[in-house]
C-alpha cells in the first residue's frame, strides 16, 4: 500500500495502461501541458504520437476517437470540463453508445471519455456542471465516478480495458485536494457495478456520488455523536449501478437519502427513489425518501451563490433528520 493523491492515482492508471498496451493513447485539448494536471508529464514519457493535442473540436474529437477505437486502438479522450461534453453529445449519444447494438456486435467502441466535472470553484454555469445525468438515460454507455484515489486508479484501469465505452468522471475538487488515500500496489483494478460501503450504520442509508461521498461522511461523523448510525454507500459506477448493495442496506436501515451534485429533476436520486417504490422495495421504507441535489437552476458564479446551490454536509444532515423524524411511527 502507498499513499497517493487522487490526481496522481489517475495519472498512474494512464501511465500503467499505456505501458501495458500500445494501442492505448490519449487525445484531447492541451493534454500535453494539462492545465488541471492529470495528464501532465505523460507526453515527455510517451511522446506526441501517443499524447495527442487536438484542435478545439469536441464532437469531432470524440468521433475521431470512436473511429480509431473501431479500428483496433484504445483511445482515452479528455473533454476538459464535463459541461463541454454537450458539444460532443451527437457522437457520444447517437454514435458511441449505440454502435455495438446497431451493428449487432460487428463493431464495438472501446473508448474512455475522461471528464473533469463538478463545482466548488465559482467557475459558473459552463465550467461547474455535473452532466452525468444527461448521459445516464443513454443505453450503451458505462459511467464511472470515483471518490477515492484507490478507486480513481482502479476504475480508470478497468475502464481502459473495457470493451464498452465509458464516461469517466473526475471531480475537480478531488483532483486538487491534498489528501492522500491508500492505494494497493500492483495491477489494481476495481470492477464496475460494485458499490463500496464507506461507513456502516443501522439507522439510515445514504447513497452519495463523487465529491458528495465526503459530504455524506462528514454528516455521518457529526450524527454519530447523537447515536445515529449512518450507512454511507458509494456506488463508484453510475452505470452499472449496484442497486443490490443499495437495497440490501435499505432493507437493514429502512431509510434512504440520496446525495448528488447533479440537479434534482430526473437525477440519480430520482432513479433510485423510483426503484425504491417498485416491487418488493416498496415495503422496505419506514420514512419518505430524501433527495439532496442541486436545484433546477444554472450554476451561479460567486462562492456565496454557488455555496447555496451545491449540496453539502449540512444539507445532508438536515435530510437525515427529516427521515429520522418518522422514527417510532
Amino acid at each position: 500500500m502507498r499513499k497517493v493523491k487522487y490526481m496522481q492515482a489517475l495519472k498512474e492508471a494512464l501511465r500503467e495502461e499505456m505501458q501495458r498496451d500500445s494501442s492505448v493513447f490519449l487525445l484531447g485539448e492541451d493534454i500535453q501541458v494539462s492545465n488541471l494536471g492529470v495528464t501532465a508529464g505523460l507526453v515527455e514519457q510517451f511522446g506526441k504520437e501517443r499524447v495527442v493535442d487536438t484542435p478545439i473540436h469536441e464532437n469531432a474529437i470524440v468521433g475521431a476517437a470512436m473511429g480509431a477505437a473501431m479500428e483496433g486502438m484504445r483511445p482515452v479522450v479528455e473533454i476538459m470540463f464535463s459541461d463541454f461534453a454537450f458539444l460532443a453529445a451527437d457522437n457520444i449519444i447517437n454514435q458511441v453508445a449505440q454502435w455495438r447494438y446497431i451493428t449487432q456486435g460487428q463493431f464495438h467502441v472501446p473508448l474512455v471519455i475522461r471528464m473533469p466535472t463538478g463545482g466548488g470553484f465559482a467557475y459558473g454555469p459552463h465550467h461547474s456542471q455535473s452532466t452525468e445525468t444527461h448521459f445516464f438515460q443513454t443505453p450503451g454507455l458505462l459511467i464511472a465516478f470515483p471518490s477515492t484515489a484507490a478507486d480513481a486508479k482502479g476504475l480508470l484501469k478497468t475502464a481502459i480495458r473495457s470493451n464498452d465505452p465509458v464516461l469517466f468522471l473526475e471531480h475537480m475538487l478531488l483532483c486538487l485536494e491534498n489528501t492522500e488515500d491508500e492505494i494497493p500496489d500492483g495491477d489494481h483494478l476495481v470492477p464496475f457495478g460494485k458499490a463500496a460501503i464507506r461507513r456502516e450504520g443501522n439507522d439510515v442509508t445514504v447513497v452519495a456520488f463523487g465529491a458528495m461521498v465526503k459530504q455524506a461522511l462528514i454528516a455521518a461523523e457529526s450524527l454519530a455523536g447523537e447515536s445515529v448510525g449512518v450507512e454511507v454507500i458509494d456506488p463508484r459506477t453510475i452505470v452499472p449501478l449496484d442497486t443490490r448493495t443499495i437495497f440490501a442496506s435499505v432493507a437493514k436501515t429502512n431509510r434512504l437519502v440520496i446525495v448528488e451534485e447533479s440537479r434534482l429533476r430526473g437525477g440519480l436520486g430520482a432513479e433510485l427513489a423510483a426503484q425504491a417504490s417498485t416491487g418488493d422495495n416498496f415495503f422496505l421504507l419506514d420514512a419518505p425518501i430524501e433527495r439532496v441535489a442541486a436545484p433546477n437552476i444554472p450554476v451561479p458564479c460567486t462562492s456565496v451563490l454557488e455555496g447555496a446551490y451545491l449540496p453539502n454536509a449540512e444539507k445532508v444532515i438536515a435530510a437525515i433528520r427529516r427521515t429520522l423524524a418518522y422514527r417510532g411511527n
Binding site: 475521431a64 486502438m73 451527437d90 455495438r100 447494438y101 451493428t103 460487428q106 464495438h108 470493451n163
Partner: protein, 325 residues
C-alpha cells in the same frame, strides 16, 4: 492507365446491381411489404461502382447512404443485405440495424442517420491506421449536404494537421435532401470540394457519370494516400434523378435540370462505350442485365421466405455486459 476488360465488365455489373436493387427495394416499399427506407442512387450509380473497384480488401470504407453500391461493391452479400432491408433474421444485423447496417468482414462501416457523423469517425480510423503504420486507406463517401455539416471542417483540419491516409469522395448530385444549393451554399462558389484548398488538401472535380474516370481518379488518390502522400478529395459531379427517398413528393424538382442529366445517364453511356470498343454487344449486355436482375429477385424471394426477427434478441449487444443496464 489501362483498364482491363474484366474490370470494365465489373464496373458495368456493379452499376446495374445498385440500380436494380434500388428499383426492387422501391417496388416492395410501394407494395407495403418493406419497412426500410430507400434513398435511391438513380443516376449516380457510377460513383459507388468506380470507387469500390479502386480499393483493396483491407481498405476501410465509410459508405454513402444513397443506394447500396458501396456495400455491394465491397462484397457485402446481396442476400444478407436484402434480408436486412426487409427486416428478417438473415439480415446483416438481424433486422436491428436496418439501413444503418455495417459489414465489418468487408471493412464497410455502419451508417449514422445524422449525416456528418461519419466525417470525424473516418478521420479517426485513418489516424488509427497511420498510428499502426499500416498500408491501408480510409475512404469516406458522402454527399455535398453531409460535407457541408460543421464537422467537415474538423475532418479536413485533422486530416491535414495529422497528414492522414484519408480519401474523401464528395458526391455533388445537385440536390441536398429537398432543396437546392442556393439554400446550402453561398452563391458564386467554384464548386463544393474546393473548400479543401484552404487546408492545402489536393482536390479535383470529376465527371461522376463516367464510371471509368471515377475509378481511375479514385485509384490515383487511393494509391497516393497508401504511399503516405496524405489526404485528398474528389468532387464527383452528377445528378440525383429520383427523389431524396422513396416517398419524396418531388414537387420541387426542376424537370429541365433532371432531363438534361438523364441524357448523360451513367449506365446508358457506359453501355454505349462497351459496344463501341467491341467488348460487348447488345445481347451480351442483356445477358448481364438478366444475371443481375435474377440475383436481386432471388435475394428478395429468400428474404420474403425468411423469419422476422425474434424479440428474444432485443437486449443483445447493448454492451458486453449481459442484458440492459
Amino acid at each position: 492507365m489501362s483498364i482491363g476488360n474484366a474490370l470494365r465488365l465489373r464496373l458495368y455489373r456493379e452499376c446495374l446491381r445498385t440500380r436494380f436493387l434500388d428499383e426492387a427495394h422501391q417496388k416492395y416499399i410501394k407494395q407495403g411489404r418493406c419497412q426500410s427506407m430507400s434513398h435511391p442512387a438513380t443516376g449516380q450509380e457510377a460513383i459507388s461502382a468506380g470507387i469500390t473497384a479502386a480499393l483493396k480488401p483491407e481498405d476501410i470504407l465509410y459508405p454513402s447512404f444513397r443506394g447500396f453500391g458501396d456495400y455491394l461493391g465491397r462484397g457485402t452479400d446481396m442476400n444478407a443485405l436484402v434480408a436486412e432491408l426487409m427486416g428478417r433474421q438473415g439480415g446483416v444485423t438481424r433486422g436491428v440495424g436496418g439501413v444503418h447496417l455495417g459489414d465489418r468482414a468487408n471493412n464497410v462501416h455502419a451508417l449514422a442517420g445524422c449525416l456528418g457523423a461519419a466525417l470525424s469517425l473516418a478521420a479517426g480510423s485513418a489516424l488509427a491506421v497511420k498510428m499502426r503504420g499500416e498500408r491501408r486507406v480510409v475512404i469516406i463517401h458522402v454527399g455535398e449536404g453531409a460535407f457541408n455539416t460543421p464537422d467537415s471542417h474538423a475532418m479536413m483540419n485533422m486530416a491535414a494537421i495529422w497528414d492522414l491516409p484519408l480519401v474523401m469522395i464528395i458526391t455533388n448530385n445537385q440536390f441536398v435532401e429537398f432543396s437546392y444549393h442556393d439554400v446550402h451554399f453561398p452563391p458564386n462558389l467554384d464548386g463544393v470540394g474546393c473548400r479543401a484548398d484552404y487546408y492545402k488538401i489536393p482536390n479535383k472535380r470529376v465527371d461522376g457519370n463516367d464510371v471509368e474516370l471515377v475509378y481511375s481518379e479514385t485509384l490515383a488518390i487511393v494509391d497516393a494516400a497508401r504511399a503516405g502522400k496524405g489526404p485528398a478529395l474528389l468532387e464527383m459531379v452528377t445528378c440525383r434523378i429520383g427523389g431524396h427517398y422513396d416517398a419524396d413528393p418531388l414537387t420541387y424538382i426542376d424537370k429541365e435540370l433532371v432531363d438534361e442529366w438523364k441524357r448523360k445517364d451513367p449506365v446508358d453511356q457506359y453501355e454505349t462505350k462497351l459496344q463501341a470498343i467491341g467488348l460487348a454487344d447488345q445481347a451480351a449486355l442483356e445477358a448481364i442485365r438478366e444475371v443481375v436482375k435474377n440475383e436481386v429477385d432471388v435475394a428478395f424471394k429468400l428474404a420474403l421466405a425468411d423469419k422476422p426477427p425474434d424479440p428474444a434478441c432485443l437486449f443483445d449487444h447493448v454492451t458486453e455486459m449481459d442484458g440492459a443496464l
